[in-house]
Amino acid sequence: MSKTVELRGVGVGSHGIVGNVWLLAMAGSPLKPQRATRELAEETEALTTSIATTVSGLRGDATGNDSVSSDIMEALLVLVEDSELLELAKPSLEQGWDGATALQNALDEFSAMMGEDEEFQSRVGDLMAIGREIGSVHRGETRSLDLPSDGQWILVARDLTPLETSKFGPSVVGVITEHGGPTSHTAIICRARNLPAVVGCHGALTLRHGSSVLLDPAGDRVVPGGSLDLQTQSIMLAPLSDAPLITVRANIGSAEEGREAAHTVAQGVGLFRTEVLYLNASDAPSLVEQQALYREVFLAAPRGKIIVRTIDAGSDKPVPFLPVAREENPALGVRGFRMASKFPEFAESQLRAIAGAVAETGRDVGVMAPMVSTVEEVRHFASLCHQAGITQVGIMVETPAIISVLPDLHGLVSFLSIGTNDLSQYLFAADRLHPELSSFNSPWQPGLFREIKRIVDAGEILGVPVGVCGESGANPLVAIVLAGLGIHSVSAASSAVNDVASALQGVTKETAQRCASAALAATSPEQAHSEVRAILEEL
């Protein structure tokens, strides 16, 4: 029963690739057996709870899928929540094993009872994966990836955490996730690594482990069994001048990405995400250690200005040594510059380390704060920067509230950078990770363009340049619209820099302004996109 219908989602990247499906849910070795640390009754109850919470989570994930895959998932969940399974787990629990081990033993025993039953054996991997997931939840662990080191794999998962994406080796050539929109963390990281991806892809988990698929991000689709010649072609503009209409910079998160960016036409760095340096550190690095990290990145980065964003962490992007309590709404919680008030010593040491590295390398560096929404916050950040010896101070414009007060920032900032990803999610009140809300977070939303225009106007009043460092700028056609709106620079992941720069070499200022007018006047993202495309296709 192989399905050959294509799956739709949101494409990330411009080149297609053919590879074999590596179903994350299917992968993974069995959990290591562990002894229980609680009394039998307590352990049994904890296991019951772990099963119930995991099952209800998976059930929630399955809603919205097509009926076939949600029925299959439901069938597996009904098996897992069967109280008979707990009966099978009892002997192991009574022998002092923990709930995760006991559950795994119970599933093994049941699987043995089923023998060679073909239909069952074809789904036993999924059942075991659910068991492992429950086991991980039970032990409070996060899943680990067990990827093969060779081959051409397209990783398929419900969703990926930044920690998981950071573990990809060269055998991962593409990513498909059931969840996530164009600005989800998975999408951003894939773009940064030049990994084609299709996110928010309904039915992704029904793909067969090991089967060959065409990943076609330009066509926003996945074609099971498809070959590379089926991939969607993108629009090409002939160059009109040697330099792009506006400055194009790279977005980086590490020295390695800085070196990669140096091989592109990027004129500097538009966004250096500093939190990446800290995600794996269990203790706060010392000032000297931090300064060395920044020095390495500054030396690796492409020639031109470097814009550093201070740490943007929170409960959704946790940094081990900056603990934040679990929050109901991480996107609206203690994150971005709000962390600086919670951890003032760290905020100070980060700025001093950056200033030290600037002095050592002589690079032209601006520093900006993420997620500010009031004049007081900007004043606070500017004074911290001045104390540390940083002169070029800027902010990310990503909350609706800061836009209204931009004219009051006179003398406090020397540049503005629009983070279109968060700005979209806050403007439209649409979670950027929500699989059903990705259209709100489209870079083509006329409401977003009109808001960007307001920011450009405010930048003129302040007399400071306005850049865009969000994922919008990674889309060549959107970058043309941004140039037409009066944006001074855009930045994108290294993989997109050359495409964006060549698109911006292919248009005149007048053409870009025509595109901008069309996008501003549109009443839907589809209309904005198709009208801009029509103007450019005429050329």
Binding site: L76, L79, E119
Partner: protein, 91 residues
């Protein structure tokens, strides 16, 4: 007083009685609050509240299964039996 209704089904699905219809049967039995057992001719009663037990029956294509529904009224019993029949052979 409860009513018992017995309905016999011949499994025609090419993969026998598999996980998907079993999931649907268990959900239905729970939602309706009725007692349902499945059994092969002359075999033991298997509670339809347990997906694991139903799956472990390993019913193959062509086998005949008795669906025994116990409900408070005969209408519910027959309706549940018919629904289970439609799950087992959904073509």
């Amino acid at each position: 007083m409860t009513h018992t209704y017995t309905h016999t089904v011949v499994v025609t699905d090419s993969v026998g009685l598999h996980a998907r219809p079993i999931g649907q049967i268990v959900s239905l039995v729970k939602a309706e609050g009725v007692e349902v057992t499945l059994r092969r001719p002359g075999g033991p009663d298997v509670s339809a509240a347990s997906a694991l037990r139903l799956l472990a029956m390993k019913v193959k294509t062509g086998e005949e299964i008795a669906v025994v529904v116990e409900a408070l009224d005969i209408e519910t019993a027959t309706r549940v039996a018919r629904e289970i029949d439609s799950y087992i052979n959904q073509g």
